[in-house]
């Protein structure tokens, strides 16, 4: 478990101007189950707001016109020094356990309007699959999901790369990404895996998230309603 800063999901939209400071190659539902709808001078959006340790408030939003399977992170306009912005982005990435390769853009990086290319190295890897499996199962009745269901849900959370979509060499009837998710359940004794960590227990056809697993998800801002 983590002893890091506590992240809280806010039940209201920010009451201050917000500035876009980072974009991630993951959809909003990768980060939260609780999603609000809103509208402002740009357009309609879906979003969620968080605060980390009573210090860093931020919002995640996906406007109608943003590319699918992306989310933009907004900070209050009062955070305006390069150092503060960079520190806040680092903190959010760390607390929310966002893979480095999923960072599409962050404030200190130059950019061209309308142009962001997903890097090939942003692949679906087992360390991310372990967390995603918990997130998917946590939404299911009794926080229990079959391996088949876990695999079926993956494309809703990540745009799979050509390497992910390639045929698996060891399991030719599967794609690489399917094997990666399958490994989460089948590799029961792997040190960083959800079973050894106590975040899940094995079921006959998949896994069930434990209380410790739900607390682990909560520590990254992924709150599962009781």
């Amino acid at each position: 478990m983590t002893d890091g800063p506590i992240i809280t999901l806010l039940s209201y939209d920010p009451e201050y101007d917000v500035i876009p400071h980072a974009i991630f190659w993951r959809p909003l539902n990768y980060f939260t189950i609780t999603i609000r709808e809103g509208e402002d001078g740009l357009d309609a959006y879906k979003g969620a707001s968080f605060v980390i340790g009573n210090e860093v408030s931020f919002a995640l939003r996906h406007y109608r016109g943003h590319p699918e399977l992306t989310v933009t992170m907004y900070l209050p306009h009062t955070i305006d020094s390069q150092r503060e912005i960079s520190d806040a982005i680092d903190l959010i990435i760390r607390v929310m356990v966002i893979p480095r390769t999923a960072v599409a853009w962050r404030r200190e990086q130059p950019f061209k309007y309308g142009a962001l290319e997903k890097p090939r190295e942003d692949r679906f890897r087992e360390h991310e699959a372990r967390v995603l499996a918990l997130k998917i199962a946590a939404q299911c009745p009794n926080h229990m999901a079959s391996t088949k269901h876990l695999k079926a849900e993956v494309p809703k959370y990540i745009e799979l790369s050509p390497e992910d979509l390639a045929r698996s060499k060891s399991r030719p009837n599967e794609r690489v990404w399917q094997q990666v998710m399958g490994n989460v359940v089948s590799h029961q004794t792997v040190g960083g895996g959800p079973f050894v960590q106590g975040y899940a227990v094995r079921t006959s056809d998949g896994l069930q998230v434990t209380r410790k697993g739900l607390d682990y998800l909560k520590s990254m801002g992924y709150f599962v309603p009781a």
Binding site: P14, I23, G41, G65, T70, G114, A115
Partner: protein, 104 residues
């Protein structure tokens, strides 16, 4: 200064067909103060308008640096070249733009 863009605004309750006609005719895109916003701001998506109604435009006014690859913003007092417009007692930010109407 070359034209920047394209940028686009989708049809919304504010970006109406009537507003689009005015924008084409005047060569201006206006923005009001967003809810909880600092000041009047023109907001737009970056890139072409894809499979939906709205306007697409280019402008010679550089967006404010606190924009993003997906969104451009022009703040009234913080972005060089942004003009002030007033209508019915409300103040707007305004940029000169070449506007294409795709919400007839």
């Amino acid at each position: 200064m070359p034209d920047l863009g394209p940028f686009n605004r989708r049809e919304t309750r504010w970006q109406t067909p009537e507003v689009a006609i005015k924008q084409v005719k005047s060569g201006e895109v206006w923005g009001r103060t967003p809810k909880f916003g600092m000041e009047p701001t023109v907001q737009a998506y970056s890139g072409v308008l894809k499979n939906c109604r709205g306007i697409e435009f280019t402008t010679k006014i550089e967006p404010h640096p606190m924009s993003s690859p997906f969104e451009a913003r022009w703040y009234l007092t913080k972005t060089p070249g942004v003009l002030k417009r007033c209508e019915d007692g409300e103040t707007f930010a305004c940029i000169l733009a070449d506007v294409k109407n795709s919400q007839p």
